[in-house]
């Protein structure tokens, strides 16, 4: 028992590393605040394209794009971009590599969610909008996208939680986000308490979102009791 407290819940070490870990947490939050909007925007574009493109070849290309980036593990994508691009003569800053990798990965995931949402909007809505004189673009912006977003809200929240969790991958390219900082502190102190504290931070950050999502999902499945 003593062992566990000394190694996992070492309060003096917690106090010492807390400022660094909070900085790491801030970086995790900033990184999320950067990659989530980019991912959402790219995903919305992919979603809109997949319901509007009529050309067969263009549709096939889009399908390949979506499936390739759904199949590639995000860490593989990130390592490929970060360590591969120098061979092309470009030295990408870490942050840019992470943002590009996440955007490619997220655009396919968010894209599929938005596509499902857009397909769920009844045709009558679109016809009614067009018959009141709205253009196709106006219909898309004012009628289809808002309804689609509401219909797939649980999936959007679920994917966003996954994206926040994915920011831990940035530690693999030595970005000083929460997990990386905790790992460095662990090697410094020869004690794993910083990792445990980081896990506690992640729980505090994500547990409320997970609870919120559970509520949404039970509603969606139409729970009777």
């Amino acid at each position: 028992m003593d062992e566990i407290f000394k190694s996992f819940f070492n309060i003096p070490i917690y106090i010492e590393v807390a400022p660094y870990l909070l900085k790491g947490l801030l970086n995790t939050l900033l990184l999320s605040a950067l990659v989530i909007p980019f991912g959402l925007a790219a995903g919305l574009l992919v979603g809109v394209l997949s319901i509007t493109l009529k050309n067969r070849w263009a549709r096939a290309l889009l399908a390949i794009y979506i499936d390739v980036f759904r199949a590639l593990p995000p860490l593989v994508l990130l390592i490929f971009i970060y360590y591969g691009t120098p061979f092309l003569g470009w030295e990408l800053p870490k942050l840019l590599a992470v943002v590009i990798g996440f955007m490619l990965n997220n655009s396919s995931y968010y894209g599929e969610i938005f596509r499902a949402g857009l397909e769920s909007v009844p045709n009558g809505q679109i016809e009614a909008a067009r018959s009141t004189g709205l253009s196709a673009t106006q219909t898309l912006i004012h009628i289809q996208i808002p309804q689609a977003t509401r219909n797939v809200m649980p999936d959007l929240i679920s994917n966003t939680i996954e994206v926040i969790k994915l920011t831990t991958l940035a530690s693999a390219v030595a970005m000083p986000e929460l997990l990386r900082v905790a790992r460095d502190a662990q090697s410094l102190f020869y004690n794993p308490s910083p990792i445990v504290l980081a896990a506690i931070f992640y729980l505090l950050l994500l547990w409320p979102l997970v609870r919120l999502l559970s509520r949404f999902e039970h509603k969606k499945m139409g729970g009777g009791h």
Partner: protein
Amino acid sequence: MDLNALVFSFFNLQIALEYLPDILKGMVVTVELGLVVAITGLVVGMALAVLRALQLKPLNFFIICFADIMRALPPLVVIMMLFFAFPYIQISMSAFTATWLALSLVLAAFVEEICWAGIVSVPKGQSEAARSTGLSWLQSMLYVVLPQAVRLTVAPLTNRVIAITKSTALGSVVGLSEVLNNSQSAMSNSGNATPLMLGAIGCLLIFIPVVLLGRWTETRFRWKQ
């Protein structure tokens, strides 16, 4: 940029041949790990969902806490806890075991939530009717409730299994010789990005069929909204 340089760095036949055996070995590890994670996670998760249906208060509290924590923690944090922190309390495990255990626990948590939502969605009258015809609790669960619940859960389960099996790449962070790790060390040894390219192609070969399978189950078992 010069095309020859691109071919030399990314599609170098000589280097590809030299490191192909390593990458293939890595692919085997990735597939093995993916399979055992999928099986363990599904079995444990379903068992937890059925246990939760017993409605035993202390047990349910434990299951809900487990599911919430494992869904909130980033998988990489769980892997690092098991691999780097647990040895301090005299529990050491190999990179394979740590990755397998971490991903299985995370998958089990998601599977439990999905299956529980499925069970709850079956109207109470169904199990009451089953019980009143003389079926035992277990029989009514196995023959009446679960078959109806399964239909709703196939698509989300498949998606979650795919997402977690892709996370096997995270094992590279703790030195597991799966496909990403092997191609990364081959890249450092050869000073050439071709192994990385091979690794990415290897991942696509493994996961594209899985993604297509997911797509198929999604349309096949789509529930009516």
